[in-house]
Symmetry: C2
Subunit: 116 residues, 2 copies
Amino acid sequence: MKDVVSRCPIEEVMRLLSGRWPTLLLYYLKAGTKRFSDLKRDNPTLSHRMLTLELRKLEGAGVIRRTARPGYPLRVEYDLTPSGLRLVPLIDGLGDWWEEASQSFPPQPAAKSEAA
Amino acid sequence: MKDVVSRCPIEEVMRLLSGRWPTLLLYYLKAGTKRFSDLKRDNPTLSHRMLTLELRKLEGAGVIRRTARPGYPLRVEYDLTPSGLRLVPLIDGLGDWWEEASQSFPPQPAAKSEAA
């Protein structure tokens, strides 16, 4: 909502967080370090490939950190970075907003016949 | 990020705000009341139909208010509700976070060869 429309930071954040998984992964990771296999088990409907892509996206934005522990099998762990830790309460704030907003004005699909 | 995963409020907010347009429309509306035609002109790449659908979604969530002024042609105006006004600074906070995050850790596509 800054006065820059092209390459708007809000748009970038929404691109990062859009969809079901990014915020759900942050939710799991705020509880502490998780292994790839933990996150896979926590999200059984998310495919291995999609989980990998979602984690890379968050890692690329500096929100989470990936650590590979030597050994066999390779143990891959993820945790929030300081930047990710700063993001969590902002997302929580949006959740609180939704809970308040949906109480005072239950969201419902608008059903208007006019074009505008 | 509340401890409720099914019907998670964060997921609902992300469903509402995902994509380019919802936050951009809030950005325009925080400047004050806008007519449908103003919003159409501000967003020339957004089709009439898509603008209508995006506005209905925000209206359905109680974020914006639609007012039809009698007359010919019908004058349709939109403005933020009190709930929408509370949402704006939360979204601004996310934008500020992004600006700080992208300075200390320039976002870049991750390019790893491993599966996890």
